[in-house]
């Protein structure tokens, strides 16, 4: 049986098992996540060696049927999802349950996460615009479930806003797909160059990009995201921020590459929206008073940076900038997941997540704070992390294009991200008697392992950037 088929069906089957049989949810979830990681790695190795693969589902060739395009970019995203998912799953499966109330929360987590995983895998592989819309809907609903998991009123409010924004984005996307059909008569991904050639087609692509911008929380359509990502449970936030947002970004990247030079104007709009998100997110992260809110705003900013990079691709398939964008996506996923898990641990330990209250009596930072710091280094883009290599390539490509204003913007974004992340890291090193009464290090010592592991992966990826970059060479044309 083919890896791609298993990658899309195994998580969904596991989700069903976990939903129907809550007692076995954890074990099912862990096994499925592990299996998924194995499959993703095997597929990536095969594609890295043998080149991109295309598959027609049911034997019906596109445009009538739906195709799977398993190329380097898709494989990279699959591996990214698998790794981050593995880290978060370990965290969820290993966490001790403080009270019975959380048992239900945890059993509800697994089917939702597995559905998210299945939808993301299907989305990365899909080569059909309408099919992308359907996967987005699964993803959006499952992500909303993850947001609402903690059951607090703010979480529910955020989940509602998230779902309605997500639905609005999906409908924009669907409208774009409808117009694509009306223009070109078909909706497989190969139609994109043709769409880029006509006015109606460009309007269709514009609608699709607008839908994606809502889902990726680009300025000025970002309003729903910080609340959703900051009010969910930390593990859920890690998945939402690290992975779910990437889905829209991935499709935008795919369309930008497929669209070639004809969608220059659209890409420019994307870049401007990305720059807006970067500055807006950074500004709010600088002013945030809660740790989770800061990290959530930082997601807006970082995704903005990635969108900016995608917007500035030259449309050539051998370009540097889109590779940089892919690498930034990967490094952001690892670092942001680590960061949210670390924040979860810190919050659990202190009993709150106010930044002003992060001072410690014991100055020695724990593993969670350390993981946070490493993740921060990667997000800022300092060596030797993957974020650094990504930013280096991005700047390289921008300078090659002579896009100096954008270079300045990227540097400004870097400075701002350093500023808001240093706020937290320096707090962790500061002394002071402000430990909340009753707050103590929880007995669960292994709880930092997942955060630390993901952060270390972001660090190590910097030294092994050649692996993802060579994998990207096998991207379908």
């Amino acid at each position: 049986m083919n890896e791609t088929s298993l990658l899309v069906s195994l998580p969904l089957i596991a989700a069903l098992v976990a939903a129907a049989w809550p007692r076995a949810a954890t074990i099912t979830g862990v096994i499925a996540t592990l299996g998924n990681a194995g499959l993703a790695v095997v597929l990536a190795i095969r594609i890295g060696q043998g080149g991109a693969e295309a598959e027609a589902l049911g034997g019906w060739a596109a445009p009538l049927g739906i195709g799977f395009a398993a190329d380097g970019l898709a494989a990279l995203m699959l591996v990214m999802t698998a790794l981050v998912g593995l880290g978060v799953s370990v965290q969820v499966a290993g966490a001790p349950l403080p009270d019975a109330g959380r048992t239900g929360q945890r059993t509800a987590f697994w089917p939702l996460w597995l559905a998210t995983l299945g939808a993301m895998n299907a989305l990365f592989l899909s080569a059909d615009l309408f099919n992308l819309y359907v996967t987005f809907e699964i993803l959006g609903l499952a992500a909303v479930g993850l947001t609402a998991l903690s059951g607090t009123r703010t979480a529910l409010r955020a989940a509602f806003d998230y779902l309605s924004a997500g639905l609005a984005g999906s409908l924009l996307l669907l409208l774009g797909v409808a117009l694509a059909y009306a223009t070109a008569g078909r909706v497989d991904l190969a139609v994109v160059p043709e769409l880029a050639g006509s006015h109606e087609g460009r309007v269709a692509l514009g609608l699709i990009f607008a839908g994606l911008a809502v889902k990726a929380a680009l300025f000025p359509l970002h309003f729903w995201m910080p609340a959703a990502h900051s009010s969910a449970a930390p593990e859920a936030s890690a998945l939402l921020s690290a992975l779910v947002v990437k889905a829209a970004i991935y499709v935008a990247l795919r369309l930008s590459i497929e669209g070639g030079a004809a969608v220059e104007l659209l890409r420019l709009v994307l870049a401007v929206a990305g720059a807006g998100a970067m500055l807006w997110g950074a500004w709010h992260a600088l002013r945030a008073d809660r740790l989770k809110l800061l990290v959530a705003h930082s997601t807006v900013a970082q995704v903005g940076l990635i969108a900016l990079a995608i917007g500035l691709t030259t449309g050539a398939r051998d370009g540097t900038i889109w590779r940089a964008a892919a690498l930034l996506m990967l490094s952001h996923a690892l670092a942001k997941a680590a960061m949210f898990l670390a924040v979860g641990r810190i919050t659990e330990e202190l009993g709150h997540d106010r930044i002003s209250g992060l001072n410690r009596e014991e100055l020695r930072p724990g593993a969670a704070e350390f993981a946070f710091a490493i993740a921060a280094i990667s997000l800022i883009g300092l060596p030797p992390t993957a974020g650094f290599v990504g930013k280096w390539l991005l700047l390289d490509g921008l300078i090659d294009r002579g896009a100096w204003p954008w270079v300045a913007l990227v540097l400004l974004g870097t400075v701002l991200s350093a500023a808001y992340l240093a706020r937290v890291v320096s707090r962790c090193l500061r002394g002071g008697p402000h430990v909340a009464p009753g707050a103590r290090r929880p007995a669960w010592r292994a709880g930092d392992a997942a955060a630390l592991g993901l952060a270390t992966a972001a660090l190590a990826l910097g030294l092994a950037s050649a692996l993802p970059l060579t994998l990207l060479d096998a991207t379908l044309t």
Binding site: L156, L163, A182
Partner: protein
């Protein structure tokens, strides 16, 4: 003037009404209704595009799209309404 054009215009009109309501109204139920109207508008323009006035046949593929869209929409609507009701309930507590 053909009937396709009528439905194109009607679909676009539905889109416009829904967008206008989405932009101006904060009430949860109303927003959900507006999203549903938006979806109907999209379905209408899609079907009108798939309709071939010469043969009077509508292309089955857009029909399938619209069918899928209807089912997806009812699922999302149910989730949205469940969330809205939960929110309303939790404010009472």
């Amino acid at each position: 003037m053909t009937s396709d054009l009528v439905y194109h215009v009607a679909g676009a009109g539905l889109l416009a009404i829904a967008l206008w309501r989405l932009a101006t109204c904060r009430d949860t139920l109303r927003r959900i209704t507006a999203l549903n109207v938006l979806a109907i508008g999209i379905a209408m323009v899609l079907l009108a595009s798939g309709h071939d006035p010469a043969t009077g046949v509508t292309n089955p593929v857009p029909q399938a799209f619209v069918l899928t869209g209807i089912v997806v929409l009812v699922a999302v609507t149910a989730a949205l309404l469940a969330l809205a009701e939960r929110l309303e309930g939790s404010s009472d507590e």
